[in-house]
């Protein structure tokens, strides 16, 4: 099927790479900075400039962070009514900016509020939106190739967009942010026209969600997950000892939480949490797709499994084929030895 591209002149009106920089606590968050790295790669292929766009009530002083991480220009829209995210206000303001500047590409981090914003934006601008992409390329006609996993990661799809702008949400962690460099800040403030009536959803209250004790799981630099290889709840003791020794957050595959060997909020994978620690241990986990999508962006994956054909060995960085009841205590001992040394050294 060929793309039914609109008339070339129309498409040519759209130039430039926009990065929507979501903020947290007023500052651009890491997922936004990662997009600047993605934009940087596209810039080389498209020969178009990178503009970061930031919305908020008081954010312009953070524009320099965006230029440090690769933005050539920063557009800031400030208004009291942008202090907290609402679909209505953010869509109204961002849609106006996009229509004024006509970028060919708009990148959003695939965080919950940005997925919300991008969906509404795309419907308003009647343009395409590729969801939760893990990679971006450019083809010979300078179209953006938006690559995303389908069916829980079993397939990869390449998506092209006939209309402009080509909008895409990018999975956090899919790109690594660049090394910051010193740069001249060119922050351009745009005029925002917004009144309370523009926002149909009124926020009455914001509170912190009751933490189910698993917040550590997504933040911890080391995560160790247990699978069915442990065989029974009683056998989990060596897992707990390992986790404590190495200082990991404990995770689990779906069958493990279903059997109650670990709490439900420990589940890593499609219907559980997505983690991307520096170091991930998959212990007695075969590596089903459901599990894989929740941990495959970990920096270094160690797998222990007695089945040499387990799928986990196809995407781990270091795999040990062997009996976990033998291997895991050995690792625990080694970690104790190493940490013991370091403790004495510190004293």
């Amino acid at each position: 099927m060929m793309a039914q591209a609109p008339a070339a002149s129309k498409i040519d009106d759209w130039k430039g790479i926009f990065v929507y920089a979501e903020t947290k606590g007023g500052k651009p968050r890491d997922a936004s900075l990662e997009l600047l790295a993605a934009a940087y790669r596209l810039k080389e292929l498209l020969q178009e400039d990178i503009t970061a766009v930031m919305l908020g009530s008081d954010v312009s002083e953070f524009g320099k962070i965006l230029t440090a991480y690769g933005a050539e220009k920063v557009i800031v829209a400030e208004h009291d009514l942008l202090g907290h995210y609402t679909s209505d206000a953010y869509t109204k303001v961002l849609a106006k900016i996009v229509l004024d500047y006509k970028p060919s590409v708009v990148l959003f981090p695939a965080t919950p509020n940005c997925r919300d914003l991008a969906s509404k934006m795309a419907a308003r601008l009647k343009t395409g939106l590729a969801a939760d992409c893990t990679d971006l390329k450019v083809n010979e006609s300078k179209q953006l190739i938006q690559i995303r996993p389908d069916f829980g990661g079993k397939d990869l799809s390449e998506i092209l967009t006939k209309t402009r702008p080509q909008m895409v949400t990018v999975r956090p962690g899919a790109f690594k942010k660049l090394e910051p460099r010193s740069s001249k800040t060119k922050v351009q403030k745009v005029k925002v026209e917004l009144k309370p009536d523009d926002i149909r959803t009124k926020i009455l209250n914001v509170e912190k969600a009751r933490v189910e004790g698993s917040d550590d799981l997504v933040k911890s630099p080391i995560v160790a997950s247990a699978g069915m290889g442990f065989g029974s709840r009683e056998n989990m003791q060596i897992f707990e000892e390992f986790v404590k020794t190495i200082g990991a957050s404990s995770g689990a595959s779906r069958p493990v939480v279903e059997r109650g060997w670990l709490a439900r909020d420990r589940q890593v994978g499609q219907s559980g949490k997505t983690v991307s620690p520096k170091l991930y241990f998959a212990i007695g986990i075969s590596g089903s797709v459901q599990h894989r999508v929740g941990m495959e962006n970990s920096e270094f994956i160690v797998a222990i499994n007695n089945d040499p054909n387990a799928p986990i060995f196809k995407f781990c960085n270091f795999g040990i084929v062997g009996d976990l009841f033998k291997v895991l205590p050995l690792i625990t001992e080694e970690v104790k030895r190493i940490k013991g040394n370091s403790a004495t050294a510190r004293v």
């Binding site: 919950p112 397939d155 969600a209 781990c316 040990i320 940490k339």
Partner: protein, 268 residues
């Protein structure tokens, strides 16, 4: 009385999908179809709202004729009626074209609605976009990621708690409105035998493109600004080191790598 439309999608049971070991393609044959899990939560929520306030629940779906099975299941949970938008013209729609089609059907057949409920995302494509785009096409507000829903029919408003990244916002909004619901909102009921028998008498209305009318160029692949140019299995992660010999040796090799990469800290 609350008039509710619940949008549902029939999806393959992703947990049952297997990969062909030789071609590495997803094997779709023989995979059971189910009502998308988040959409079942939407159906359940609509039933609870109707139990409290009275009203009417319409299930709306777009899909091939066999998607009737999914609608049948929603009816046997207790929904009042169901509409299936089914036509080759609707096929290969992306989220924008799907949203246009659903919005057109809602305007045509249930224009008096108070609430539209959609699951947060479908487990096959996982975009989470369609519901929000339906709301935009109908020019009504939406609240995504709803964790609790209270409807005030007399005041024509809802109070919804939405959870985003460990923050809970309490949001008040006027009806008509679209709500995106997610896991944790409720536990969907199973159809009872009584309802299943009753359901046999309920009819699923199948609507094709001609009957739906509207701008045919906005349906299906034609109306979709995005298209899939290529599908392939994910490449294996390169550089994996697999050890199957002596455990002690494997472990010490692992520890060396972890120390070298500074993934665990040794003596400082």
């Amino acid at each position: 009385m609350v008039s509710i439309v619940v949008c549902v999608k029939q999806v393959p049971d992703v947990a049952e999908l297997r990969i062909d070991p030789i071609t590495h393609n997803v094997i779709r044959e023989g995979v059971p179809s189910i009502v998308n899990p988040d959409d079942r939560i939407g159906v359940e929520e609509s039933l609870r709202i109707r139990e409290k306030h009275g009203g009417r629940i319409t299930i709306l779906s777009m899909g091939p004729p066999q998607a009737k099975a999914a609608l049948f299941e929603c009816l046997s949970m207790g929904a009042d009626d169901a509409i299936l938008l089914s036509d080759r013209t609707f096929a290969a729609a992306d989220t924008l074209a799907t949203a246009y089609t659903l919005a057109k059907a809602i305007k045509t057949f249930r224009k008096d609605f108070d609430l539209i409920i959609c699951g947060r995302r479908a487990i096959d494509a996982e975009t989470g976009q369609t519901g929000i785009q339906v709301a935009e096409q109908l020019d009504i507000p939406h609240v995504a990621y709803a964790k609790s829903v209270e409807v005030f029919p007399d005041q024509k408003k809802v109070i919804v708690k939405r959870e985003v990244e460990s923050q809970i916002e309490t949001v008040e909004a006027p009806t008509p409105i679209l709500l995106g619901v997610m896991e944790g909102l409720n536990k969907p009921r199973l159809p009872t035998l009584r309802e299943v028998i009753k359901t046999k008498k309920k009819e699923i209305r199948v609507v094709n493109a001609a009957e739906l009318g509207g701008d045919l160029s906005l349906y299906g692949l034609k109306g979709s600004p995005t298209w899939v140019s290529k599908v392939y299995p994910p490449p294996p992660k390169p550089g994996g080191m697999i050890k199957s010999g002596d455990s002690k040796e494997s472990v010490s090799e692992l520890m060396n790598i972890l120390i070298e990469k500074q993934l665990i800290k040794g003596s400082e």
